[in-house]
């Protein structure tokens, strides 16, 4: 994955990554690594389309009403508004595209051991208990 694509994904991860006042995990870089690894395993067609989709997301921001800048150069608030406009878009292709990208970020986040601890999800101990 090229540096430009990684930058855009990092910006998406910064906004999409779950957080709260009580719980914040600075794993944006890890999430981008996760997404990059995941894309390697996509269908060949999706693997080719994925970076195109990321670029589309980045540059369509210029045409939107958000301030004629690509996504990575928007302010935090405008990034959130822009991402939201895709998640709740009436256009199917926009919803599908961002669902894929955001979905991978979230999958990566909710696969972190610290997040599992926070959610009290401990399958390894449960399995160990069943084995014994």
């Amino acid at each position: 994955m090229g540096p430009k694509t990684r930058n855009i994904l990092l910006a998406i991860a910064e906004i999409a990554m779950p957080r709260s006042d009580e719980f914040y995990l600075a794993v944006e870089d890890k999430l981008v690594d996760f997404v990059e690894d995941a894309t390697y395993h996509l269908t060949p067609l999706l693997r080719r389309l994925f970076p195109l989709g990321v670029y589309l997301f980045e540059y369509l921001a210029i045409l939107s009403s958000f301030s004629f800048k690509p996504f990575t150069r928007l302010s935090i608030n405008r990034k959130k508004l822009y991402l939201d406009s895709w998640v709740h878009s009436r256009l199917y292709f926009k919803r599908e595209l961002i669902k894929g990208i955001k979905g991978l970020v979230l999958f990566g986040y909710y696969s972190q051991p610290e997040v599992w601890d926070h959610l009290e999800y401990d399958p390894a101990s449960y399995l160990e208990g069943l084995r014994s």
Partner: protein
């Protein structure tokens, strides 16, 4: 003997009575049944070979190893449908929930009328089902392995007077680990990986994993062998080749890969039906959030089903997934995502499976890879919406405080009264998150060679000695989990080949 990519140091040439492509519910069964009758069998499996020692809690690691395209296979259409398919020794039987249903009588009656398959009655298929059920230990899921999520769904359904029952699964000493869909780490789920495959291997079947079948050789209208390539699981590059000369070729790659292979080899039949009649049992999920602790990940994945609406083609069943896959299926992100997911241990997830009335097709795309296309019709869309509404009702009756829905324009509701919004919203197919694990119908079985691909014994109408033994031969949807029916039909196909051995092997 099972050989993987790293065991192969040169091109391989084999000569056998039978070459089987695919090691799932169909392929593993025919391989073992024929090997037991003394035939030499070579089995080619595209995926890798993993055992319970390799299965762990890391869902993404398991998905990468066991699922085709890391679980991102997509059925194109309106909407796109996420399709989960196993690609490993054992196929989808390694990653399914292990639900075992015999094909219902009403589905067989449809096969009679629509495909002329009059011999396929419940009575005729009984011995084949019994044989399979015995071998893979099909039994009712024990109550002590069922988690609280199932009890809550059951409570809700029973309060509404709906018929429910424990499911039958292929399991031995299941302890409810909830890892069914990532490979059972306790070898409790009796997938073909730990039943048919080891038995076939003991009987001398040569099994090659990481081996993609590429060419089916036909000479004078008769299948004569298969050529395949070993694929490096790390790089995806193909290295060595395997060439199998066989008197009988049995394709069991599943309802997308099987027609893909036939079309790639220009084995379109006179009926022009290869790749058509694609069925997929569309399903959708909803999540109920309760005020009490549930810990849905403790207990078997699908222990119970609601059958009240089965005659209408709707089945409801619990199904729990780890946080990663669950969170990615929800429309939330940022603070809102964590706010919702903090209730993870108070969630119950369940799905609606609909018996489809429409069909799609498989065609070849870039790189001559099969691409499935399916456009859900109005009737099935309404059925899915209705199923989700019924599920929501069950959740609230069971005590849920809110329900997360698979609808883009209506992601959640907070009371029984809000269920009417599901109908008021005029939800379109593109607004629904649809998934499936059941692909069927694309090389349909039938008496009439002008309207089907294979005969009632799975043999190609157009190419002798070429058989198909997977769900692609289903002429119409069966409305229930297909694993057991695939296995019974595969047993019957092997039985037929053996009882007509003079025609095929001498």
């Amino acid at each position: 003997m099972i050989r993987k990519f790293e065991d192969i140091q040169s091109n391989i040439r084999e000569k056998a009575d039978v070459c089987v492509i695919g090691s799932g519910a169909g392929g593993a069964v025919v391989a073992k049944e024929l090997a037991e009758n003394g035939y030499s069998v070579v089995l080619l499996e595209e995926g890798g070979y993993y055992t319970s020692k390799d299965f762990n809690c890391e869902s993404f690691e398991m998905i990468k190893k066991l699922y085709r395209d890391a679980g991102t296979s997509m059925i194109m259409g309106k909407p796109n449908i996420i399709f989960s398919e196993g690609r490993c020794v054992g196929g989808s039987t390694v990653i399914n929930a292990g639900i075992c249903w015999r094909i219902p009588r009403r589905a067989l009656e449809r096969w009679h009328w629509e495909a002329g398959l009059w011999e396929l009655t419940p009575e005729h298929l009984e011995p084949y089902f019994e044989k399979v059920e015995e071998f893979i230990s099909v039994r009712e899921q024990p109550l002590e392995t069922i988690g609280k999520d199932v009890h809550l769904i059951k409570r809700g359904a029973e309060r509404l007077g709906y018929k429910t029952s424990p499911v039958k699964r292929n399991q031995k000493d299941c302890k409810g680990s909830n890892f069914c869909i990532f490979g059972c780490p306790l070898d409790a789920k009796q997938s073909t990986l730990i039943t048919y495959i080891p038995r076939a291997s003991e009987l001398g079947t040569k099994i090659y994993a990481n081996c993609r079948a590429d060419k089916i050789r036909i000479s004078k209208g008769r299948a004569t062998g298969v050529t395949g390539y070993f694929i490096d699981p790390l790089t995806g590059n193909s290295l060595y080749q395997v060439d199998v000369e066989a008197k009988v070729v049995i394709v069991a790659g599943g309802a997308i890969q099987t027609p893909g292979l036939l079309l790639k080899n220009r084995l379109q039949h006179k009926s022009r039906m290869v790749g058509k009649n694609f069925l997929c049992h569309p399903n959708a999920k909803a999540v109920g959030i309760f005020d009490e602790d549930v810990y849905g990940w403790k207990g078997t994945v699908q222990g119970w089903q609601i059958h009240e609406f089965i005659d209408e083609g709707i089945i409801l069943s619990t199904t729990f997934v780890p946080p990663g896959p669950l969170a990615m299926s929800l429309p939330y992100y940022g603070e809102q995502s964590l706010e919702v997911m903090q209730d993870y241990n108070r969630m119950v997830a369940a799905g609606v499976l609909v018996e489809d009335t429409g069909t799609g097709r498989i065609f070849l795309g870039p790189g001559r890879k099969p691409i499935p296309y399916y456009k859900i019709n109005q009737h099935d869309t309404r059925q899915l919406i209705r199923g989700i509404a019924i599920l929501s009702e069950i959740y609230f009756a069971g005590g849920a405080r809110s329900v997360l829905l698979p609808f883009a324009q209506l992601p959640e509701i907070h009371s029984r009264e809000e269920i009417s919004k599901i109908y008021d919203m005029k939800i379109k197919p593109n607004d629904i998150e649809i998934l499936t694990m059941h692909a069927m119908g694309t090389c349909t079985m039938g008496a009439n060679p002008r309207r089907s691909v294979v005969d009632q014994y799975g043999e190609s109408h157009d190419y002798k000695n070429l058989f198909i033994a997977d769900a692609s031969i289903f002429p119409a949807p069966i409305g229930v989990n297909p694993q057991l029916t695939i296995m019974a039909l595969a047993t019957r196909i092997a039985d037929y080949i053996h009882s007509h051995s003079q025609s095929y092997f001498y």
